[in-house]
Amino acid sequence: MIEAYIGLLIFWPLAAGLACLGLRGPGARSALVLATGAVLAAGAVGLATQTPLALNPAFLSCATALHVAQAAAFLFPAYFLFQGIREKHGLVMLFASAQLALAAYGEFGLPAPRAAQDAVFCDGLALALVLVASLVGSLISIFALPYMQRHEEHLHLKTSRQPQFFLILLAFLGLMNGLALAGDLRLFAAFFEGTTLCSYLLIGHDRTAEAKKSALRALWMNCMGGMFLHAGILLAQKQFGLAGIRELASPALWAGATLLPLALILVAACVKAAQLPFQAWLLGAMVAPTPVSALLHSSTMVKVGVFVCLRLAPVLEGTTTGRILTLAGALTFLGASALALGQSNAKKILAYSTAANLGLIIACAGIGTPTAIAAGVVLLVIHAVTKGLLFLCVGDMEQTVGSRDLEDLRGILAKTPLTALAASAGAMAMILPPLGMLAGKWAALEAASASPAAMVMLAVGSALGVVCWVRFSGTLMGGVAVGPQPAHASGLTSGPILALLAGAVGLGMAAPWLNALLLPAGQGSPLAGGWGLLPPLFATAMLAWIAGLKVLGRQSLQPLAAPYVGGLPQARPGSFVGALGRNWTLSEGNEYAPELFGEAKLTRLAGALAIALLLALVGGALI
């Protein structure tokens, strides 16, 4: 039974995607996507009831499956190389060839490793990733249905390219599930390369020059990541003759051994997670249609990177490699938060904030204590839901207004109240106690007590994040009255937004229990440490919520006072009557402090520091 669930989780999305390609009608496509959402949700919940488990389902453990995985190690780089040659992109060619060479070395130069104990291994971490990919990913796919319709109307395409789009989108979810559950490194690497391919195709979907450029940038960076991953895996194979992830992630194995293989895999993870200095590919990804960026940022792709780090985290506890990884994560948290603060482009804000929060999770992984890992997984889940929500909201507002600049979204509350409020709530969910993102940040700060530098960077990054999100939320709500306005959205747009909003707030509130669930048995009482503080804070928050809404209800019936503009009277909203009876229009804008948070300068500075840390990560493992 459970094997069937796993099969569905991995292969159903691919099958449904292929069916989308065959049945080109929009009705059939909607039905297929909705069905995929239902199947994935059922499968993920079914899996959740059986966790933790270790299995050897025939379709993943047989020799054929391993052969396919080995073939994939050649096929994916070969395709990347082909793309590199076609687009005459030197870096893609370089890294794809390196990957091919490594694959050849692994196939012919090394003895075949012992097969993994379990082809499928699902613990709290893997389950978290499966739930995120299946539930959040499905919601984003459903949101994509009306969005892509409007998107193509806007582009005036002759033949719809939606079938291919949904094939890749859905297949991506299946690959993510496979990646989360794979217990064998070779299978894992195949799925890993699969996500690189999907992201390349999705980013380049619009086929504009900018899209192509961004897609190739994502490709070369992730090819480089893939190269590091393969190198790490091969080294580990050479060192231990092992291919099981579970065996590799046990600290006992590494006692006294060099951590170089792990360091290489961690660098690959940092590339996937768009850590500094590799954040460029994630920023480029925003040229793609919104569902793609939502998917890449929240539930797939970047989560692969943090998943790998968290998977290996038990080995890192107390090691130099772990300490340097903590510093690298904290540096990204700080640098990307500062970069986010200087942006007015709403999607760039989201992108930098994604990199920042993933840095926080990676810092947790570097610390490697069970408490830190549990905090990291909580952050992974809640970040996925919250960021998914924010991306969908920004995408919807962008389609309404025709701009993704925060200044153009000012006061959008009047135009699309539902989306704007959901976006504001999502932004505040990123920073407010007692919700999960803050609880995770707090737990990370207390867990990082072995590394003062990391703590200080987290402290500064945290303040930057608060300012960034309050400004974001305040700009959307800026000075507009509560008023009934017709919402344009179809149920397929507002449904996923509302579901994600409920998820972001609900899961945010449930963070302590989520945390208790993830902590290994015997780690004290379920709400140990400071997490026990959170439930009373929820009660307070709920009371404040009720009191606030009552006042909101009362105040929204009152007429508003005329704005105070130095006593000058107002003829029309947003203006004042000044000298000579002239009507002056008021205009406003946020202060982005470019001299402090300028993108070019900060990127160079933080990038150089991050490169130094990653070099130290590899170098520190060498010595």
């Binding site: 006072a561 005329a562 105070y564 006593g567 000058l568 009277p569 009557v577």
Partner: protein, 147 residues
């Protein structure tokens, strides 16, 4: 007890908004002199605020003309209720020597209701302080009548 505290505090914390409607600055200087150590009007809880939304007492100096009448009215409207208005100086009370000038409407009471008039050219700081206290007495009487 809480209710009586609230009522008592209504007359113990007059926050002043000072608006120069077109004064020669003589009365303004005298008004600001109230804040100096010599007179120290903060003894009575008085604060000079710059925002009508926080003010209880509007202190106006100078004559009203068609240009600033709208601003005066606007400031008065933006103050919370209950509110007091004090017209300071001969010009504020009646238009003073400018009463018949073509661009002058007259005293403050041509535009908004005035509670206390402070005569003088310029008005003395003691008189202005006395006006605030008189105004608060008026407010107290109103509050007690409405109890």
């Amino acid at each position: 007890m809480f209710g009586s505290f609230l009522r008592a505090s209504q007359v113990k914390s007059p926050w002043l908004l000072h608006f120069d409607c077109g004064s020669c600055n003589g009365c303004d200087i005298e008004t600001l002199a109230c804040l100096t150590p010599v007179y120290d009007v903060e003894r009575f809880g008085v604060i000079n605020v710059g925002n009508p939304r926080h003010a209880d007492v509007l202190v106006v100096t100078g004559t009203v003309n068609p240009r600033n009448a709208a601003v005066l009215k606007n400031l008065y409207d933006q103050m919370p209720t209950p509110k007091l208005v004090i017209a300071v100086g001969a010009c504020g009370c009646s238009g003073g020597v400018f009463r018949e000038a073509p661009n002058v409407l007259g005293g403050i009471d041509k535009v908004i209701p005035v509670d206390v008039y402070v005569p003088g050219c310029p008005a003395k700081p003691e008189a202005i302080m006395d006006a605030v206290v008189t105004g608060l007495g008026k407010l107290k009487a109103i509050l007690e009548a409405s109890k």
